[in-house]
Amino acid sequence: MKTRIALWLASAALLGGALAGQETGTTSASAEVLAPDKKLAALIERYNKQQNDVSEAYQKAATDEERRKALAGLPGKEYVSEFRAVAEEAEGTDTAARAWLWVLRLTDDDPKQAWEVVDLLLSEHMQSPAMDELSGELRHGAYQHGEGRVIEALRSIVAESPHEHVRAATLFTLGAVLFESSKPQNKAEGRDCFEAVVTEYGSQAYGGNSTYKAAAEGYLFEIEHLQLGMTAPDFESIDENGVKWKLSDYKGKVVVVDFWGNW
C-alpha cells in the first residue's frame, strides 16, 4: 500500500511539473514534455524497476511476513491510467499499439475491459509489428476470456497481419491454443497449424536461440508420441554422479517422470 501511495505521489508530482512547465512556457529538463514513445519507454522502465526492486526485496526476506510485505509492492493496476494516457496521446501509431498491450496485460483479470482493448488493437493496429505480443496475451488469457473468441482473434491476425514474424508467432500460438483445447476437432486443427508453421515460417526466429520450425516440431512430436495411451519414447541421460541411465531401464515398474527445478 505504501508503494502505491508513493507512486501516486510521484505521478502527481510529475503531472504537476508538466503542468507548471506548460503554464510558464519553459522547457526545463524537469518539466520537459516527452514524446509519447519516450514516455512509454520511461513508464516501462519505471514498471520494470519496481518489479526488480520487489524481486530483490523478496529474495532478501527472511520470514513469510517479510515476503508477503515485499510482494505487496508489486506493480500493477495503478499503471493502467498512465499507459492508457500514452496510448490515447499516440493514437494510430505503433507506440499506441504497444501502450495498449500494456493496458491489456494489466487488466487481464477483467474480461470486459480486456476485450475492449483486444478489439481496439484488432481494428486499429493490425499493421503494427507488435501484434505478435497480442497473440501471446490472448493465449495466456484463453481460459478466462473464452476459447472460441481467442481462436477467432488469432485467426484474424494470421490472415491480416502484413508482418511475417507476427503471422508466424500467431499461427504457432493458434496451434497451441487449438491443441490444448478439450475439443477433438480443435486438436486436429492445432496439428495442421504446427505443420503449416514448419513449412511456411520454419526459418523465423523463436525466442533467443530457436526457430519456429523447432518449436512447432516439438509440439508435433508431443502430438505423435507423448499422448495418453502411447508408449513413452525412450530417453538416455546421466545422473548427478555421471552414471548413464535410460527410461527403458525401468520397464516393469510403474514410473513417475517428474520434470522439476528448485524454483
Partner: protein, 102 residues
C-alpha cells in the same frame, strides 16, 4: 518444490513395490544439482538435463515445471500432471494392474 513432501512420502511408502520416481532436473550441471539434492534430502534417480531447454525437456516438449508423466509397467503414458491424491490413485491403479498382469 511444493510437491517434495509428497514425493518423499511416496518413495518411502512404495520402496518395496515395482515403482520408481525419476526426476528430470533443469537446475544446472551435476555439481549444482548435487548440492540441491543434498539440501533437500532427495534420494531418487535424477537426470541432469541442464536448464529449461535441456535435451529431455526439449524432446518431450516440456514448457512448464513441474510437468509429470505417469507410466504403467509397460512404459505406456497413462496420466499427465496428476498431483498429490490424484497421483497416489494413479499409481495405486497401475500397481494393481501390474500385479494382475504378472
Amino acid at each position: 518444490m511444493a510437491m517434495l513432501p509428497h514425493e518423499k512420502e511416496l518413495v518411502e511408502r512404495l520402496k518395496h513395490e515395482p515403482f520408481a520416481l525419476l526426476g528430470i532436473n533443469s537446475d544446472g550441471d551435476a555439481d549444482e544439482v548435487k548440492k540441491i539434492l543434498a539440501e533437500r534430502g532427495i534420494t531418487w534417480r535424477q537426470a541432469i538435463d541442464g536448464d529449461t531447454t535441456g535435451p529431455w525437456a526439449t524432446r518431450w516438449n516440456v514448457h512448464g515445471w513441474p510437468t509429470i508423466f505417469v507410466l504403467d509397467s509397460q512404459g505406456v503414458i497413462r496420466y499427465r500432471d496428476v498431483r498429490e491424491k490424484k497421483m497416489d490413485e494413479a499409481i495405486e491403479t497401475l500397481l494393481a494392474e501390474a500385479k494382475a498382469g504378472e
